[in-house]
Amino acid sequence: MGKYIFKRVLLMIPTLIGAAILVFLLLRMAPGDICAVRYLGSGLAIDESQIELCREQLGLNKPQIVQFFDFIWGYVVFDLGDSMWTGQPVTHEIAIRFELSLQIAIMATLVATIIAIPLGIISAVRQNTITDYVVRGFAIAGIAIPSFWLGLMIILGLLIVTQSWLGEPWMPPIEFKSIWEDPIHNMAQLIWPAVATGYRYSAVATRMTRSAMLEVLREDYVRTARAKGMVEKIVINRHALKNALLPVVTILALEFAFLMGGLVVTEQVFNLNGLGNLMVDGVERQDFAMTQNLVMLVVIIYVFINLLTDLAYAWLDPRIRYS
């Protein structure tokens, strides 16, 4: 097992180098750069030498190959450089937003799991009954409704409900406070985006749980369990669900990785300053240092989550052994 993990971690290196080359090239294919954005965007008359000076300061006039190796070297010496826009270290910019994004990703995953697994089971056990149709409708709606729209509706709903119940409208707080610092404030702010994204994400997982359960419930060993005289609860939970969880875990894990970097629109709706927002800013401002490191962060998260998922398989299913 240890040897397997070591091999997998080593195999990540070529993946990461490939991703680095891709993101480096793609960013530089777009016309313009941060200096042009900064000076030309201001609308003032700027002379060309000032832009050149800016490029020199940021190292943008070096040959591309040198810039690329600088970028890679940063990972070797653990110095990712400074944001080209704010001048702050990239690691600092990421760190202050990472907690928020991680917390939303975890909360959304929890919301999704809490919704998806029971609903998926009920839907499979009561296949083709009204219950099943309602659950499936709920799940399809989750896939169809964009989470930013649901977010808007949640905010609107909160305003209307609090207005009519409390007499004055209440909005989730805007400023982010760490959960360790002020848990109530933190939850009041983050529970809504977690529900909005968690619902969408639960929809996929509900359907996966349902279909996996349906398959497993027809297995002979489930019939064996019933014939052994096990009560239905044990048959479902112990014999069927455990065997049906594998694909569900895969879906949940991949969605979790996606949430870490992909919550661009939802963060806008709830006015959250997370990694998605940072990414949008980075792309808009052509802040290469920021964007390429952020993309690399998402890549690393994906690769690690994939490894963890594979390890979870071995834990969930004794037939899978890595060596």
């Binding site: 369990a225 014939a227 005289g229 096990m230 014999h239 004794p318």
Partner: protein, 345 residues
């Protein structure tokens, strides 16, 4: 004999006269299992029935092995599943210990399932891949609180494995680490764990290699004598059935066509379907096989959705007369203990 069993014996009616002296363990009367075929997504409506089992009567005495034979789709497995209440029968009674299994609620059902166990056909899919052998065998003992002490339970599991010809260390293995024959032995050990009285062997050996089949059959026979078990032995393999069974019942398209003592049936089959079935058993000698005349039944097995009227076998029967298509033949005793559903024999 308990009152319940006596009643069960008498209730089986004239059909079973003459055998009441032996203790009857289970009586099946007029068992029907129809699976509805529905159409329509939103408002499902029933359009037809698959008549998997359509009126089956038999009884099994204590310590006896009754073979249930017939070709694929004739309803033998469904009959077994109805007895376990893995299916809810459409009609009929299954009387065990004086109680009708068909009428039991969930709690009573769990009690009866401790006494009736099953060995399934496929040793590959009938064991939960996520559980160790020890857990699979020990689970009912633990859940039903029969042996609560962990060490004693392990000892019992080890004993059961040993009795079924496996090393007690197999308790710590997963099913995928074992061969088909070993898994089937685990299936048997699991069935024995609850100290049942009655075991339904649903094609218990047909997924195994022939040499392994012989070992498992011998094991089943030993266990029957040792634990005084009663078997319902469902199979399509007539030579295996002849080896292990006391009596044999032949099913065709959801109906029982013949029931007799094992040797009587194999030597003097009366129903034309039984005769054809026996004639189809290959003889393991090519010279002899070549000279033997084959009696091949004409036509295909009809659909159980729309079975033939009267005697279900009449469209394929060499003896059929006009009346066969109108009247369902009685299941009558033509010789002592030999029952046939045919008017022409």
């Amino acid at each position: 004999m308990s009152e319940a069993q006596a009643t069960a014996g008498q209730d089986s009616g004239a059909q079973f006269r003459g055998q009441v002296s032996d203790e009857v363990l289970i009586t099946v009367k007029g068992l029907k299992m129809h699976f509805p075929i529905t159409e329509g997504v939103i408002i499902p409506r029933k359009v037809a029935d698959v008549k998997a089992v359509d009126g089956v009567d038999f009884y099994i005495r204590k310590g006896e092995t009754l073979g249930l034979v017939g070709e694929s789709g004739c309803g033998k497995t469904t009959t077994g599943r109805c007895i376990l209440r893995l299916e809810d029968p459409t009609a009929g009674e299954i009387i065990y210990d004086g109680k009708d299994i068909c009428q039991l609620n969930n709690n009573e059902l769990i009690d009866i399932r401790k006494k009736i166990q099953v060995i399934f056909q496929d040793p590959y899919s009938s064991l939960n891949p996520r559980m160790k052998i020890g857990e699979i065998i020990g689970e009912p003992l633990r859940v039903h609180g029969i042996i609560t002490d962990e060490a004693k339970r392990r000892e019992r599991i080890g004993y059961l494995l040993g009795r079924c010809g496996l090393h007690p260390d197999f308790a710590d293995r997963y099913p995928h680490e074992m061969s088909g024959g070993q898994r089937q032995r685990v299936g048997i050990a699991r069935a024995l764990a609850m100290e049942p009285e009655f075991i339904i062997c649903d094609e218990a050996v047909s997924a195994l290699d022939v040499s392994i089949q012989a070992q498992v059959i011998n094991l089943l026979e030993e266990l029957r004598d040792e634990f005084n078990l009663t078997y319902l032995f469902i199979s399509h393999d007539l030579s295996v059935v002849r080896h292990i069974c006391h009596r044999v019942a032949v099913m065709y398209l959801g109906h029982m066509v013949e029931l007799a003592d094992c040797d009587e049936l194999f030597d003097h089959a009366m129903h034309p379907y039984s005769q054809a079935l026996l004639a189809a058993v290959p003889i393991p000698d090519p010279e002899l096989e070549k000279t033997r005349g084959h009696q091949i039944i004409k036509g295909e097995i009809p659909s159980p959705i729309n079975p033939p009227s009267g005697c279900v076998f009449h469209p394929r029967c060499p003896l059929a007369v006009d009346s066969c298509s109108q009247k369902i033949p009685d299941f009558r005793e033509v010789r002592k203990g030999h029952w046939v559903a045919c008017t022409e024999v």
